[in-house]
Symmetry: C2
Subunit: 352 residues, 2 copies
Amino acid sequence: MKAFEKNIRKVEPYVPGEQPGRRVIKLNTNENPYPPAPGVQKAMEQISPDKLRMYPDPTASVLVDSLAEYYGVNKDQVFVGVGSDDVLSMCFLTFFNSEKPILFPDITYSFYKVWADLYRIPYICPKLMDDFRIRKEDYYQENGGVIFPNPNAPTGIYEGLEFVEDIIAHNQDVIVIVDEAYIDFAGKSALELIDKYENLIVVQTFSKSRSMAGMRIGYAISNPTLIKYLNDAKYSFNSYTMNQAALVCGAEAVKDKVYFEETVQKIVETRAWSVEQFKELGFKCLDSQANFIFVMHPEYDAKEMFEALKKEDIYVRFWGSERIEQYMRVTVGTREEMEALFAFLRRYIKGE
Amino acid sequence: MKAFEKNIRKVEPYVPGEQPGRRVIKLNTNENPYPPAPGVQKAMEQISPDKLRMYPDPTASVLVDSLAEYYGVNKDQVFVGVGSDDVLSMCFLTFFNSEKPILFPDITYSFYKVWADLYRIPYICPKLMDDFRIRKEDYYQENGGVIFPNPNAPTGIYEGLEFVEDIIAHNQDVIVIVDEAYIDFAGKSALELIDKYENLIVVQTFSKSRSMAGMRIGYAISNPTLIKYLNDAKYSFNSYTMNQAALVCGAEAVKDKVYFEETVQKIVETRAWSVEQFKELGFKCLDSQANFIFVMHPEYDAKEMFEALKKEDIYVRFWGSERIEQYMRVTVGTREEMEALFAFLRRYIKGE
């Protein structure tokens, strides 16, 4: 090892879901199968070259304003970032500076652990119950902060507002982050609680329900005090994270409520239909309220099935990690994509 | 103070140059006065909605490949990020983990100090000499890493390759980062040295010479070993930082070498002409090799002049900080913009 390598930070890099170059049935990264709102393309085409040569507005006001209007909050209650990964990472850095461990479920979004390690934040991961639900009493213990997704990933299980409020209410001396990447496919958002609890931050994303994973936009909504702390931290890193295209396309996407609701509705319907199909084939499905379904088959090995699907150019997600070795996570695609999936699974399972 | 505020990270936020909403003569943030290469707008218009709904390629290969080809290096020698701020911040995080202080000049890009504080990296800032040049012997002391811009900012002073190599050669046990945001307006790049020194990283940006501050693209070029460390750190933060628009527009910009060289040439010519104008008015100009000029007038107070200019809707940059209280940094705009600046300064100074 060279002398200069001694002080280099070594990390375990996260392995994202595969992005195959060729056209496949891609049900592995929870993308929306429908394109963004029609206005988005137009907004992109109208970005003038003059806008490209200049720094973007560091306050991202066009995007912040549109989100504030949509959610009926003030502009100083919205923070935007490069996908919810950027927003969440900034939240970890800003809010989790206690000596006490933060809490998040053992089975959840895998980046929480990565950011905690990166920022040297101690953590404890209470185990999900056997039915993969969060036990809220696990979050009553002393801690340095709490984060959990609702719906949780990769389970898809959604907990109602009372449950969420109970965790927030038991943790008023620390920051509680509710990661709502999939909330639009589920139920009530914890946004209803931000006026009631000063320690609450709700994080959402454009990557799922708004069909814009490619533009990298996430946001946090909270009270002005916490949002200011986040902005201060962000400005000290990199003042201009949101490029011109993200700003104008994002703002445009938020405006088209009708298109948004139609798209979400189609996915929710396809999800219900897909769950039926899975069950008919003997799969066990968790009760997903997200745009994916977490499934296992008591008689077929998940890894073998995952690989058989891949050979057919049908990509789903498989981790093989503890407690979920027999599960696959399947994104809800278009009805046609799901039909192709089930046609294969019928052959695989029933020999049809 | 609320209990939950105790563990919130408090930072001194960086104050970026103003971005006024209305049309002004904007010579305060070193943007390029010319639009990006014509192909860029077309590339933007051709991004399909399907690309927007999907996650971007986490390896950013279309952009990485175009840079590798342009600079005649391999693909595994290029790292890209959200502006050079993102790239530099990731370099600090990845490479500066020694107990020993890193070194950078006292007068330089103000973010170095901010990132060092953020990541709790100790640092020493050797003083520039009285003529605002770096004294290379200051960088012979024991340290945990070295970073300096060439040309330096906000002085604009460029040091030749021998000088740069001397600093690198004296620091082969640590990582040396040469921040070349303005190199295309100056002279030889330290890129020539990356095969010779394993501890060297060269960072550049699309925000200045490539007229794309609005798209947020920066990059580092080094050997495959150091680039892999950077990518590992980046993937552990946020796998998808570069959105689709940045990827395709960036790749397109790199292809148009003729347009790039013409634009740079125009700015270099306007710079030479502007220096003459400043001198005629009695200003002292440092020998700038960047797209800005660092000036002071022995008889006129910089702060008053800065404010008088602002009243005329001519924005330049002024810090008022130690050793540079009497200096203003003026971005080289178009010839027309500079003529408007000098017309005002002639009135201000000569009462014309």
